[in-house]
């Protein structure tokens, strides 16, 4: 499969179409889970632990039962018999990985602030919350483990039955001796120690779930603000013991996820088993503050990266040691997040020797899990920060050190030292374009002027060239990483009697614009208008097969499946048209939605007419079944490897420590682009989320494990006013591993941004002798660093 297509102007593929999803989102017509009004529903509210680590001595539900409207209260012990299995973790990364039993309601002890201990059921949401406040829980406090070093020491073991706080150690060390040798022989060695602070995903729509039971049929409709309706259905069946055939999961309009809705949560399971037990619909909508501790958090790693380099600054080996914070329990893919980064610490560089080791530990904090980029932003941050340190050590410009180390365009497909095969890339091309677009040379001159004038406002310029693996397939590779699911995606394409088109996809969009993009893919091949294509998704009754949306997989796997299914429909249509036109199939050409007999253009049949013939089945070839419908279950041969270069320009007020983002240039390459407008949107959102980690966001805890940033007043999600207009550019290096030549772009911006920003901050502070600063680079951190450097 090496055919790739460059999109010419007139094709629907590659057009900057406005999103067909937007009118209903912008006018408020879209129905999110909170808009689902179910007659007779009961509302639940959870009683959550106020301590990070404690034994539950007693739970007095009596006062809650006195609250008007409260119909029932259940503790963890009350519901213990309801579970056929614990909350699932689908990625046991090693054979001997330690995983604590994680029940939707804690039994015996609580392991983080926010851990649910009881559920209150009431006739209204307000009454449920009042009831939850009335439940009296007596705790015996235990010493909390909030620090990763403390966790490793096993001073306090959180899950006594496991005997240790260490969940697993995972290593990737193809040739340890080669690494040792390279370090021994190196001219330059640099060591970076970086902290990936915990982040709160803060999707615009909080989580929520409604479960509607059919009391007589024993069936359950689960409507959830989820990224993963298909996976959720399987997991609900496994944990509740309800047959998979009796569960239908619907993801309605979903307002963002960033990985936080790539999970199976206690509230989903509780709602299902309470609907079974009480035979009433159950409803739960998360509050924002609740979401800061009851929804997974991202990152949470301490990284040590060492580079060995020769006299010219060419990297000869990389050694990485990681300490990863799992939080109190393992959620759906928690243990796998560091592995997604493990393959990328060599980044875009031609590195001959590599070793990686990760130890993952439990703490008394909210569980971590995949958050936009999941492992890859962390890895990219480490290598892109470290290579700037190497540039300092060698004494060359950050752009030059990168040029010396890039994998060259003619080295693709490239066998990486970590064992991946990079599909395609042109890293130096991306760098040169980004330098050009950002006016790099002029910026360096301005920086020089400000330094000479001792300007209180100093300029910093930061680069990062990222590359990431996305698509998360093929399934066999996922098996070798011990991921429990596959990496394929399903699509069905059908032509309706009137010539309109239905695309059924197993991906589950929650803001990405799949309806528009998948319409473009199908319309482009069928020669119809994208307006004539309907995309169905997010309902396991409508699209029975699917693996949902995460990891920038939707287009590179699911979009390609749509293209393959569309081509299969066209092939069947060709047979019908040939039959009807009394021509041989090979004599037909299919252009602009019409079959024509080559050389006899008057003999033609539009696709719509073929669709109607397929529907009536009055005159089909012998033995052919009616209707035009085809499916694909596409399992890609490789990941895709998007890349790009970002240039960040900051101004630092050295008197206040304030960092102002003055300019940001992002040149991204995601192969062929189905819709450049959507690509730009993804890059904008992604960059903002990466900048947020670098400058604004941090889930802060006190020494007792209490979350200090439990509202959006304290957890600083930046807004438009904190950003300059972004400059975006693209290069197009198609992926040779799929029919469309596409790569993912959903996480790219986030992956590239954080190191570019911190490199810029450190660049500005370089004259003070400051070469590292923790994220987020707050004014006080910057000011303190300047003060300490002056001492």
């Amino acid at each position: 499969m090496t055919t790739t297509e460059a999109p010419p102007e007139e094709r629907v593929f590659g057009q900057r179409l406005l999103r067909k999803e937007d009118p209903e989102l912008l006018t408020g017509e879209a129905r999110f889970v909170a808009d689902v009004d179910v007659h007779g529903a009961l509302y639940i509210a959870l009683v959550r632990s106020t301590l990070a680590h404690a034994r539950i001595v007693s739970i007095d539900v009596g006062p809650a039962l006195e609250v008007p409207g409260v119909t029932a209260v259940f503790t963890g012990a009350d519901l213990e018999q309801e579970w056929a299995g614990p909350l699932p973790c689908a990625w046991p990364v090693t054979e001997d990985m330690k995983a604590p039993t994680h029940l939707p309601l804690a039994v015996g002890k609580v392991c983080y602030t926010g851990d649910a201990v009881a559920v209150v059921v009431a006739e209204s949401e307000y009454q449920a919350r009042d009831g939850a406040e009335a439940v009296v829980v007596e705790y015996e406090p235990l010493p909390p483990v909030v620090d990763l070093g403390d966790a490793v020491s096993d001073r306090v073991v959180i899950h006594e039955d496991l005997g240790t706080n260490k969940s697993y150690t995972w290593e990737l060390s193809p040739d340890a001796e080669a690494v040792d040798r390279a370090f021994a022989e190196a001219t330059h060695r640099v060591h970076g120690h970086y902290i990936q602070q915990r982040l709160i995903p803060a999707a615009m729509e909080p989580r929520g779930v409604v479960v509607i039971p059919q009391p007589f049929g024993g069936e359950y409709t689960v409507i959830s603000a989820t990224q993963i309706p298909h996976i959720l259905k399987v997991m609900l069946a496994l944990t509740s013991g309800i047959s998979e055939t009796s569960i239908r999961v619907i993801a309605p309009a979903v307002g963002g996820g960033f990985g936080s809705k790539l999970d199976v949560y206690a509230e989903e399971l509780l709602s299902l088993v309470l609907a079974r037990r009480l035979k009433r619909p159950i409803r739960w909508i998360e509050t924002r503050s609740e979401g800061t501790q009851a929804t997974i958090q991202g990152r949470g790693q301490i990284q040590d990266i060492e580079l060995a380099a020769d006299a010219d600054g060419r990297i000869t080996a990389i050694r990485v040691k990681l300490l990863a914070d799992m939080g109190a329990y393992l959620q759906l893919v928690t243990p796998g997040v560091p592995l997604l980064g493990a393959f990328l610490y060599a980044g875009v560089y031609d590195v001959p020797a590599y070793s990686f080791s990760c130890t993952s530990v439990f703490t008394n904090l909210t569980p971590t899990d995949a958050y936009r980029g999941a492992g890859r932003p962390e890895a990219t941050y480490a290598i892109e920060r470290a290579i700037d340190q190497l540039a300092l050590e060698v004494g060359v410009d950050p752009a030059e050190i990168r040029r010396r180390n890039y994998i060259k365009p003619d080295q693709f497909p490239y066998n990486s030292v970590a064992g991946l095969v990079y599909d395609s890339g042109n890293y130096v091309g991306s760098l040169e374009k980004a330098l050009d677009l950002s006016g790099y040379g002029e910026l360096r001159k301005e920086q020089e002027r400000r330094r000479e004038q001792n300007d209180p406002v100093q300029l910093g310029i930061g680069l990062s060239t990222y590359m990431e693996m996305c698509g998360l397939a093929p399934s066999r590779v996922l098996a070798s990483l011990r991921y429990v699911a596959g990496g394929w995606e399903a699509a069905t394409v059908r032509l309706l009697p009137t010539g309109k088109v239905q695309v059924v996809t197993g991906t589950s969009p929650h803001g990405q614009g799949h309806e528009t993009s998948w319409s473009q893919i199908a319309a482009d091949r069928l020669g119809v208008s994208p307006d004539d294509v309907e995309v169905l998704h997010g309902d396991t009754a409508v699209s029975p097969y699917g693996l949902d949306s995460y990891g920038s997989r939707s287009l590179a796997v699911g979009g390609v499946a749509v293209a393959i299914a569309t081509d299969r429909v066209i092939e069947k249509a060709r047979q019908i048209a040939a039959h009807q036109l009394e021509a041989a199939e090979e004599d037909l050409e299919f252009t602009a939605g019409t079959f024509r007999v080559k050389g006899s253009p008057e003999k033609s049949m539009p696709l719509g007419a073929v669709a109607f013939e397929a529907f009536t089945a009055h005159n089909l070839p012998d033995g052919m079944e009616p209707n035009l419908e085809a499916s694909s279950h596409f399992d890609p041969p490789n990941f895709t490897f998007p890349f790009g270069t970002h240039v960040c320009v900051v101004e630092i007020d050295t008197e206040t420590g304030g960092v102002r983002l003055r300019g940001y240039t992002a040149v991204d390459d995601c192969g062929n682009q189905v819709n450049p407008l959507i690509v730009e949107g993804q890059v904008h959102g992604g960059v903002v989320q990466g900048v947020a980690q670098a400058l604004f966001e941090e889930a802060s805890y006190d020494s007792q494990g209490n979350l200090l940033t439990s509202t959006l007043v304290d957890y600083l999600v930046p807004a438009a006013s904190e950003f300059p207009s972004l400059t975006t550019g693209t290069t197009v290096t198609p992926s040779p591993t799929n029919l469309l030549g596409v790569k993912g772009v959903g996480e790219a911006g986030t992956i590239g941004a954080a190191p570019a920003v911190i490199n810029a901050v450190c660049d500005a502070l370089s004259p003070y002798g400051i070469h590292d600063i923790d994220m987020p680079a707050t004014p006080e951190r910057v000011w303190t660093a300047i003060q300490e450097a002056a001492r």
């Binding site: 940033t709 006013s721 303190t784």
Partner: protein, 273 residues
Amino acid sequence: MIPAKFDYARASSVEEAVRLLSSEEDSKALAGGHSLLPLMRLRIAAPTLLVDIGRIKGLSGVRDKGDAVGIGALTRHADVASDATVGREAPLLAKVASQIGDPQVRHRGTFGGSIAHGDPASDLPAACLALGASFVAVGPEGERVIPADDFFQGFLTTSLEANEVLTEILVPKAAGARWSFQKFNRRAQDWAIVGCAVVQNGLTRIGLVNMEAAPVRAKGAEEALADGASAGEAAGHASDGLEPPSDLNASSEFRRHLASVLVRRGLEEAGKS
């Protein structure tokens, strides 16, 4: 938002509001709701009766009162920011109002609400201190005028009685005064980490944001200036006698430093105006 249970009453006159506020111990006046409702949502505040004064006629708008500009307590920040009289006679206020929160906050939040809440992190109290404003309050005993200097007592505590309604803010006209407003924060929508309002009209008055439990003046810097100190020297005394709070955005020590930088900049900018 899930606040605790409360009763709600809408007052159609100041007198009715006072009567309603007096009728229950844990009553609270509701205007734009931008300070009170977030506290109720987090169940930090749980008044049993909310008296909505938002529709009382005559409490909104800007009036020329001869020596002073009278600003109705219900006047929205956006209206203060764009009012011609305010722009002419007290331009500092227009500037301050234009930077409060975000556009939604500026179109719902009220001047009087911000003052009555007495949040040290709010900008308007500091501006009122610098401008030497005073506040008109109506209670069961009638009307009284409270100078800004006597109004802010402690954290979210003012000299307003629980059954008094703040009706108007009186700002002395100071068309020729030199002024500056400095606000330092991480996001434009946030409260200031530290802010300062400087007004020079013969004497210099400096109001500080987020430098004490209550809105305060930078007395140390003001006195230094009166004794002839330069802007830079005076700014070094910006936090004299104050105990700035310490939180996730800034330690107490960093706030002292920021106050000195911002007061110096404020004095320099005012000097140029």
